[in-house]
């Protein structure tokens, strides 16, 4: 039996399981890149208008940190500035999830043991996972190229941007392949790969923002820096594509070598033993829930702090970035609901923070359903814990976690903006209040998930996430899509006061809090009456 026997059927199996998720990633990335190119063409049709945007965007360090350096002032170059690195990040995320899911996650769940007992080569599962990741990135490259060409961009630059993103995607697929050999748990493996992606992002961000030579060279150490160095629409440097290709080949080879040397089910990194005795913190259902959710919450907090600081810092001078484009100003004033551009920008950032916090709260609430379907809830509910306390343990974390996230985001946005604008104290107070004003709305969205968990458990995951997506889409595209006001009014975020700068009103906050409590209470009441499992 060769090491690759049955790779074909395994590849088809992986495609069957993941085609939808991969297609969604590819389409979202394509729509983002092509949409930005089209949009910039509409907003800045003349070179003179683009010149204003380019000179402001290229010098705003927060935006350079967040997106990339700007090479040129064509629509293509601006698209590459705004979306080049982020398209690469999307491709990398897709690859990491697909590769881990089809290698370590299946191995940890025991599915690969069953598969491996058939006439399946030792390297077949890894090869199938990488093949699917490469196929996904190839599709992404094709669709992004086509989308950019359709948006009126030159073919050469379009292909360069698309290939740069796809190459980074493949490279991080190989990072994930190696991580899957190192860690015995899928969560750890995913963490290693995502950590590498985060490090790559930080390296290029520091290199782009730095002005002195030793630091600017850091960009050559980061696969996301190579994406920039391909310089799409600015005299493409095709040779830079060889860097991610070489890294992919090297890491892929290392993954194969590691796979050939390790035992099935084991990782190269030693699995740390746990404590033989439970600590006093693991006292009951609440202690258990905290223990299970704390790591995740810490990651979310880090993300909120980091992004909050960056987006806050970008607020200084946002007016000159937007320049004279009335359309783009309108975008911010619409979401932010105000006319003063800086306040509108900050309010829009805070609103998006609230929407993402709603996603966190929903994810924690829906973990109840996961515990139920995986059988983890059964032994807990067979003890004196009681259903209500068991469910409340997660709901409490959803509430406090969301409050902590919004507090952190408010502080970070306030500090990020205030330190650059020279008014840290005032900005922190204002942004903290603005961020916490999102809490009732975020919890009301998560309340839908709790309600359905009690009333319609089979549908709660689907509808719970649909509710999050609907509020996000309504906020971002609602008026663009001409959604009628009564439908917009269903979304809790329609009613949140536009802060900072808008009128502070307590009534909607009270109503939204009541709605959140009612939804959760009805859901928990129904949970007491239904079958478990």
């Amino acid at each position: 039996m060769t090491g690759l026997a049955s790779t074909g059927p395994l590849t088809r199996l992986a495609l069957r399981r993941d085609w939808f998720m991969m297609l969604a990633w590819v389409l979202v990335t394509t729509a983002g890149v092509a949409g930005v190119a089209y949009w910039l063409g509409q907003l800045y049709p003349t070179a003179a208008k683009r010149d204003v945007l380019a000179s402001a965007a290229g010098t705003n360090p927060a935006l350079v940190f967040l997106y990339s350096k700007l090479y040129g002032d064509s629509i293509g170059a601006l698209t590459a500035w705004r979306y080049g690195v982020w398209a690469a990040i999307f491709a990398a995320l897709m690859s990491i999830f697909v590769v881990i899911r089809n290698t370590r996650a299946d191995e940890e769940a025991g599915r690969l043991e069953l598969v491996g007992s058939a006439a399946v080569g030792r390297h077949a599962p890894l090869t199938a996972a990488l093949a699917v990741a490469v196929a996904g990135n190839a599709l992404l490259a094709m669709l992004v190229t086509a989308g950019l060409v359709l948006a009126g961009q030159p073919a050469g630059g379009s292909a360069a941007l698309a290939l740069a993103a796809a190459a980074a995607g493949v490279a991080f697929g190989c990072v994930a392949a190696l991580a899957a050999q190192m860690a015995a748990g899928a969560r750890t493996a995913r963490g290693i790969a995502l950590g590498a992606l985060g490090a790559a992002y930080l390296l290029r961000a520091v290199a782009d923002t730095a002005s002195t030579a030793p630091l600017t060279w850091l960009t050559w150490l980061s696969p996301l820096g190579w994406t920039e160095q391909v310089r799409p629409f600015a005299g493409q440097r095709w040779w830079a594509l060889a860097l991610p290709a070489a890294v992919a080949a090297a890491l892929g080879a290392a993954a194969y070598l590691a796979a050939a040397r390790r035992d099935h089910g084991a990782g190269l990194l030693p699995d740390r033993p746990g404590r033989a005795q439970a600590s006093a913190l693991l006292r009951g259902v609440f202690g258990l829930a905290w223990r299970l959710e704390l790591t995740g919450l810490a990651g979310w907090i880090a993300g909120f702090l980091f992004m909050g600081a960056i987006f806050g810092a970008a607020g200084k001078g946002i007016g000159s970035v937007l320049g004279s484009s009335s359309l783009l100003r309108n975008e911010f004033t619409r979401i932010g609901g105000q006319t003063a551009i800086t306040n509108a920008y900050l309010a829009a950032v805070v609103m998006l923070t609230g929407l993402i916090a709603a996603a966190y709260a929903t994810s924690v609430a829906l973990r109840l359903r996961t515990e139920e379907t995986t059988g983890l809830a059964e032994p807990v509910l067979a003890t004196a814990a009681g259903r209500l306390r068991w469910a409340l343990s997660r709901v409490t974390i959803a509430v406090t976690g969301t409050a902590v996230l919004l507090t952190g985001a408010g502080l970070a946005i306030g500090l990020g903006y205030g330190l650059r604008a020279g008014n840290a104290g005032g900005a922190v107070t204002a942004m903290l209040g603005a961020a916490l004003a999102q809490l009732p709305a975020a919890l009301a969205v998560a309340g839908v998930a709790v309600l359905l968990f009690g009333v319609l458990p089979r549908a709660c995951v689907g509808i719970g996430w649909a509710a999050v997506a609907a509020t996000l889409l309504m906020k971002v595209f609602g008026e663009l899509l001409r959604i009628p006001q009564w439908a917009m009014d269903i979304s809790p975020f329609t009613h949140v006061p536009r802060l900072p700068g808008g009128a502070v009103s307590a009534a909607p906050e009270v109503w939204l809090s009541l709605a959140a409590v009612t939804l959760a209470a009805v859901g928990l009441g129904a949970l007491r009456l239904r079958d478990i499992g």
Partner: protein, 302 residues
Amino acid sequence: MSNAIEIQGLRKAFGSTVALDGLDLTVRAGEVHAFLGPNGAGKTTTLRVLLGLLRADAGQVRLLGGDPWRDATRLHRRLAYVPGDVTLWPGLSGGEIIALMGRLRGDPQTARRAAALCERFQLDPAKKARAYSKGNRQKVALVAALASDAELLLLDEPTAGLDPLMEAVFRDCVQEERQAGRTILLSSHILAEAEALADRVSIIRAGRCAETGTLTELRHLARTSVTADLDHPARLAGVPGVHDLHQNGTRVTCQVDSTALTEVLARLAAAGIRAIACQPPTLEELFLRHYTTGSRETAVVR
């Protein structure tokens, strides 16, 4: 003594599939009761109703004198449960999970008592649950239940995944618990386990209790298999209560109802016995009888 579990006419359907169709079950306090049936007979559903995880569609269910649905939390302090399919939190160690289950039951002393049991079951409590094999996950759940001070143990196929040595340890533990006065309801499809451990047995088929009683009582319903070498051919054909008769010259094998044993042995003695072997029915035979007749009926569901 009172009954720990009383179930009468329990019905539970999931949509159109009927899982329990009028089940009766009585478990006396202080006994080890085996709950036998093939996969999908309704054993796990019954246990989940007893735990208040599922609500009965119809019928009476009393658990430790209470209503398992309404008084779930209060009753759960007095029982410990081992699920049939043990899932554990991958990031927690076995020791942490055992202590946690005790604390959740309101009994913080569980962890202290668990140390000796971990030793007996050769379980390393410092390992994370993701590193445990199926048998070791089973041991974590078993130790958590056995180390509790619960008066009732509900064990759903507790030896699934244990090796024979560990199975023996488990049997010793159950004997000790019985002597300590605990009530144990043990679901199983392994008949040897029930034979070795149970005071009384209930056999469940297609959501109903097909038979219940002590093993001695059930044996009355079964046939003894008789094999004999005789001096002369015996006349056994046509005797009421004799089944599956094979006569090959002076060698005879047959299945005999307990009511016909006297008659058959008298006829064999009259023919002159050189060698004889009589075997009491094993539970396997009891079991087979139920399911060979049952297989013609409707398909069983979980």
